[in-house]
């Protein structure tokens, strides 16, 4: 037991609530102090929890209260920290703290300043609870709660129609995933009678194969939504309507990785179902590839990074699919650093360029914002998988994992995507920071961001450089040893990777990454390759990528519009005409009949008297027939 665990999420929650309730009138532009304090407290406590778990090797937990006691459906609010959670805690609070600090500069002067610093700690709280939960329902609860924060923060500049639409889209698309996730949770409960991780993982072995596969796939549906896998990744690029720190924290470093975390957390279920694993791997690889191709063609700097995020999430997913659990979490961690860094760097660029996001209107910014440039370059290198930056180690390990996991095709797809990754990352770097200055120099004066923004960049870039080494040597680093207790037990298969394989793939990865770098250099610095010509030559393929593989259009025509038409039909025809028409028809029938019948009421008393007499005759007649002995 660790009775202080609840303080980890409570600190940011308190900051969020206080800022929300009093921010508008009393706290106003001092809101960031409270938020940073809360998240910093959570960070310190997380590190303490991490240390304790690392020291003892035992999971620590705290039971707070019973949330839902519905008969045999007893759901506690209980927190557990094992190694996996400990890693997530540190990543969430660490990146979260840096993003908070960065936001002080980025959001300075915004009328919704207090609101921002109320939503952001709320998100940190939700995310912490998500990783701390000890059962699936609690996980689901905060799974949705981070969705709420995501909604509020994407729609932070709610007066923009596009932001409002994007927020709604993100929430609704996530709900599609949640639909599957929720069903999975129900299926677990109905089959196993419990939702606590330990009980579920123990019980999985006793379930028939089909049920396990179904559960695993349903859970993965949730991950598809939250972690923006094909086919539900469409919300994530749109989510870039939110302020850039939000993109960095939520849509790169933490929330979108919740799906990866959840699958890793449920590894026992997935490991018990090879079919489900295959699906996960295929979807992950496809996502990695598709998103990388789209990333090649976009011009909005944030959109490129967003697609890069989707692509990297695809890597993590297929790492899970091939059973490389630790590698997935490793990549999750390194990705949090370098992608957070990239987003914050992009934010710094946007900030310095007065809200310009189109790379076609940038160029040559290197000399205006050197700190941003160098940190961004480090992030790009890490993302592209250049030795020795963090991304190299984790991504290489994933590809190796796929290869030795018996999925060579997926490994190859991963390698191709890696080429694209390197290409689009350096395309961004070169388009933004190198080359001629394509912006309107009379109106736009690029400038370096203030220290409150650059210091987080520096810290994160240190992370992006160094984080990879916790996983060194590959497959056998400190990180893997730390996570080992989580991913061991029945169903876990250990692949013994020979040093030769590791070295070979390291070499291949490096070559590929450098090839991407070279291509980008050729196209955007030296000009020996003309991107426009290549695009023209690729024709439909380029259009496919540029139009984001038409996912949005397909959804629009296949789902959204028919559904709207169906709804209008249900309302206008079924509801108003058929159902209500029947009701009103009955009323009209009564009224119609009554109108006919009232003719009987002549108003002549004589007629009424006649009717009375007739009635008398009938009654007496009835008496004669029934009551008297006349006919007996």
């Amino acid at each position: 037991m660790a009775n202080w665990l609840f303080l980890i999420p409570l600190a940011p929650l308190a900051a969020a609530v206080i800022n929300f309730l009093f921010g508008r009138w009393y706290i106003r532009d001092r809101a960031h102090w409270l938020a940073i304090l809360g998240v910093a407290a959570a960070f310190v406590l997380s590190v303490a929890a991490f240390a304790q778990v690392a020291g003892d090797g035992e999971a620590i937990s705290q039971h707070l209260y019973t949330w839902i006691p519905a008969g045999d459906f007893q759901i506690p609010v209980a927190l557990t920290v094992d190694q996996l959670t400990a890693v997530m805690l540190v990543v969430v609070t660490g990146v979260g703290l840096l993003v908070h600090i960065y936001s002080v500069g980025y959001m300075h002067g915004d009328p919704g300043f207090y609101r921002f610093f109320s939503y952001l700690p709320l998100f940190v709280f939700s995310m912490l609870m998500l990783v701390l939960a000890n059962n699936y329902l609690l996980l689901f609860v905060f799974w949705e709660a981070v969705g709420l924060c995501s909604f509020l923060l994407i729609g932070f500049w709610y007066r923009r129609r596009s932001a409002a639409q994007a927020a709604k889209k993100a929430f609704v698309v996530n709900r599609v995933g949640d639909f599957g996730f929720g069903l999975g949770v129900m299926l677990i409960f109905v089959n196993l009678g419990t939702l606590e991780y330990t009980g579920v993982f123990e019980g999985v072995a006793s379930l028939p194969q089909g049920t396990v596969t179904l559960i695993a796939l349903l859970l993965f549906t949730g991950a598809i939504g939250k972690s923006a896998q094909i086919p539900l990744f469409v919300w994530l690029p749109d989510a870039m309507e939110g302020p850039t720190p939000v993109s960095a924290l939520i849509h790169a470093a933490t929330m979108v990785t919740a799906g990866i975390f959840m699958v890793a957390r449920s590894w026992a279920i997935f490991a018990a179902s090879p079919d489900a694993m295959l699906v996960v791997a295929i979807i992950g690889a496809a996502t990695a590839f598709v998103a990388a191709t789209i990333g090649l063609t976009q011009y909005d700097i944030k959109k490129v990074i967003a697609y890069s995020t989707v692509s990297q999430l695809g890597y993590m997913a297929f790492a899970l699919g091939v059973g490389a659990w630790a590698a997935a979490i490793f990549h999750l961690m390194t990705h949090a650093f370098f992608k957070g860094l990239l987003f914050l760097g992009a934010g710094s660029v946007i900030h310095g360029m007065h809200d310009e996001q189109d790379m076609r209107h940038m160029g040559g910014l290197k000399k205006y914002m050197p700190v941003t440039y160098w940190t961004f370059l480090i992030g790009a290198a890490a993302n592209a998988g250049i030795v020795p930056f963090a991304g190299f180690w984790s991504k290489d390990e994933i590809i190796v994992g796929a290869w030795v996991g018996g999925r060579p095709i997926i490994a190859i797809v991963g390698l191709i995507a890696a080429l694209f990754t390197s290409l689009y990352m350096f395309r961004v770097v070169f388009l933004t920071f190198h080359g001629e200055e394509r912006f309107d120099r009379h109106h736009v004066k690029p400038h370096e961001s203030p220290a409150v923004m650059t210091i987080p960049l520096l810290i994160l870039s240190a992370g992006a450089v160094l984080a990879g080494f916790v996983g060194f040597p590959p497959e056998n680093g400190a990180f893997h040893h730390f996570l080992e207790p989580v991913f061991s037990g029945h169903g876990a298969e250990a692949h013994h990777v020979s040093t030769a394989t590791t070295l070979t793939f390291g070499a291949i990865s490096t070559v590929i990454a450098l090839a991407g770098l070279g291509l980008a250099y050729a196209a955007y610095i030296r000009g020996s390759l003309n991107p426009a010509t290549i695009a023209a030559r690729l024709g439909p393929l380029y259009q496919l990528a540029y139009r984001r593989w038409y996912f949005d259009e397909i959804y629009e025509t296949v789902i959204v519009h028919p559904l709207y038409r169906l709804s209008v039909w249900l309302w206008r025809v079924v509801d108003v005409q058929i159902i209500d028409g029947t009701v009103n028809g009955v009323a009209a029938l009564v009224s119609f009949t009554a109108q006919r019948w009232r003719r009987v009421q002549t108003g002549l008393v004589a007629n009424y008297a006649l009717a009375i007499a007739l009635g008398t005759v009938i009654i007496v007649g009835v008496y004669l027939i029934v009551g008297s002995n006349l006919f007996q």
């Binding site: 002549t602 108003g603 002549l604 004589a606 008297a609 006649l610 007499a613």
Partner: protein
Amino acid sequence: MSELTANHFLVLSAALFIIGMMGVLTRRNVLVIFMCVELMFNAVNVSFIGFAWEQNSLVGQTFALFIIAVAAAEAVVGLGIIMALSRRLDTVDIDKVRELRE
């Protein structure tokens, strides 16, 4: 038919009742209709008292007494209505009084 039996009274009662009823049905003057109604009341009273006589009971007479009382009340109100009717509509012709229709 040597003895007086209740059937005598009943036949008388039936005759009076039906004559009254015919009056109600055929006449158009409200006043005459009113008088025919009184006639029908009376016919009923004859029946009651006839039965009472046959059965050696006073319940029938009691009933008839109440009927007379009620008839008195009815007469008062009914005649009041006729008065009001003739004042308002200038008629006592039952066929001209059709306000119930709408």
